[in-house]
Symmetry: C2
Subunit: 344 residues, 2 copies
């Protein structure tokens, strides 16, 4: 697989950064955006919940963000004559740019990653080469944002489907540079630290070893293993672990990145077929990465791919038990989910 | 306010318990259910997520539970000739019974609490006397279930609205007797323990003192104060704290229960009017209670009333940041939410 690609960085009209990732080894990109755009006033702050010590982001300005625009008004499509979008180019492969309506910024950072300029595509339809380029973009953005003094953790993710509230249909993901260690990661870090202190071993290695011997493996290859976790919280949930202890996407070597492109597309296809493929499957693809400044030898990079679609026409909702108490109820048995994903 | 009420306990045809709570001081209730019902096979287990140490309930049998039945098939309505429901009576005030499709049982317990026999009502429409009787029922069930050897925490809640997945429209809530301390409570307990160790003070008293001096109080009375928490996770969220340090609903005295009936209905009305009252407001009303066997002097009873309705036609969805990372983004500013609730 070729790994030649080009990154070109430009500034949008209101000063935001945009990065083109092109499959070609050389790409000529216009240096700037011709629009007249005023910066969006930001009103965002991180508050701490005194009952838990956990951060919560209050982001008032976002009520005005673009909400389900018509396809011809899509801000993520390439620009065309008479219609300037967020991407000042007639075509593109992959772009990552600062969100015009970020949940937070300074400290922190919110980027949008467009996976293709084809409005009607989905990640699952992309070529292996394109998936490989997206991985390269994720890794580059992770490395760069990790160098920002205000960022404590880089979170790479895709929300897909109206059922989970996606308001822009153009195939895209997001990257959050959190100005804190996310609550879930803080718990993992503490669990891994306790596990090391009591057993001398690596928590993620032990989980991977146990799952590889169990009946919940969905697919495995040289560098990666995907399994349904035994205590899955979500109706359809897969964890994809690298075999090597790496803290984040930036630490993956070329062989791991190549294989990831193939195995990730394979997992998305299995998700798509899970409910007999009747409609696009809503999902969250969340890359858990180690914090930037702490626990990098304790938290291993892994993907959590989850869906709230518990049946062809039924969603899992978070109600009292989950929303208020953090006590998850899963109506699907993980071993059965794994079998169905293997057979998909 | 009269507090005379009668509790009558019967067994349903498959052996489940049902308790009538009647507003009259004497009530004659048929001792049993005339239906032929086989017990529903249970396939439920509590598993532990090794990444967090948190329990997850796997409840496979529930995929078959009753899903949005037509009003004439409502299992929570009173029985009528030719149509036997879950409640073997022609009329009732309040009933609590074991769920035929429990998420878990033995250890643990799931009860359904019907607030009225009027299918078309909502809690917000009930009289103060009925609200007072429901509080009595909640307190009684909390006390009784706390005596069960397999139950570590009693969770009293109402999920309201299709937007959060409610499948039965008859006005009802639920009670879970968790066979563990819920993850959220475990975090609160640890936070309160650390707070006491470092300051010598009570965490909940300190939060209440701070909030009563702040601009986020929605309503207050002699025994209770309701406020929007400064770090609210949900678009519309109110916490209702008793002024006295009590671990659970069973520990409330008569004066506190009387006032609660009034203030709770007042809060529900404010929720209903929040988005100009255009349609029923979906909400979760969650009673946080101390665990049965630990931390009873550390965790104070309080209500968390939350809604995912962030605008008249917009819902808050839990996507990647919340679902995978536990990092909540709230688009509404708590001080503004409090002002709107005060003015409602």
């Amino acid at each position: 697989m070729t790994r030649a690609f080009t990154r070109t960085s430009v500034r949008l009209a209101d000063g935001r950064e945009l990065h083109y990732f092109d499959e070609r080894p050389v790409a000529i990109r216009r240096p700037s955006d011709g629009r007249h755009l005023s910066p969006v006033p930001m009103r965002s702050e991180v508050r701490v919940d005194p009952l838990s010590g956990e951060p919560v982001i209050i982001a008032a300005h976002r009520q005005e963000r673009t909400h389900r625009p018509a396809a011809e008004d899509c801000p993520l499509c390439p620009s065309r004559p008479g219609r300037a979008t967020e991407v000042p180019a007639r075509a593109y492969d992959v772009v990552s740019f600062e969100n015009r309506f970020p949940a937070f910024a300074d400290p922190g950072r919110c980027e949008v990653v467009c996976f293709t300029d084809d409005h009607a595509a989905s990640f699952v339809d992309l070529s292996v080469e394109r998936a490989r380029l997206i991985i390269e973009a994720w890794a580059e953005r992770t490395a760069t944002l990790s160098g920002d003094a205000g960022i404590e953790q880089v979170f790479v993710f895709e929300n897909r489907g109206e059922a989970i509230g996606v308001t822009l249909h153009h195939p895209h993901g997001q990257i959050y540079g959190f100005p804190f260690v996310a609550p879930r990661t803080a718990v993992m870090l503490e669990t891994a630290r306790t596990h090391r202190a009591t057993t001398g071993r690596d928590l993620f290695a032990d989980i991977l070893d146990a799952e590889r011997r169990d009946e919940r493996v969905v697919t495995a290859a040289e560098h990666w293993t995907a399994f349904v976790p035994g205590a899955a919280r979500w109706p359809v949930e897969v964890h994809l672990f690298p075999h090597r202890a790496v803290p984040d996407l930036a630490a993956l070597d070329d062989g791991e990145r190549d294989e990831l492109a193939t195995i990730y597309l394979d997992l998305l296809r299995r998700f798509e077929l899970f409910h007999a493929g009747e409609h696009p499957m809503p999902y969250v693809a969340a890359w858990h990465q180690a914090p930037v400044r702490t626990g990098r030898d304790l938290v291993r990079l892994h993907l959590q791919l989850l869906s709230i679609q518990r049946g062809p026409d039924r969603l899992k909702y978070l109600a009292g038990s989950e929303a208020a108490m953090g006590a998850f109820l899963n109506d699907l048995v993980p071993e059965e989910t794994a079998r169905r994903l293997r057979d998909a």
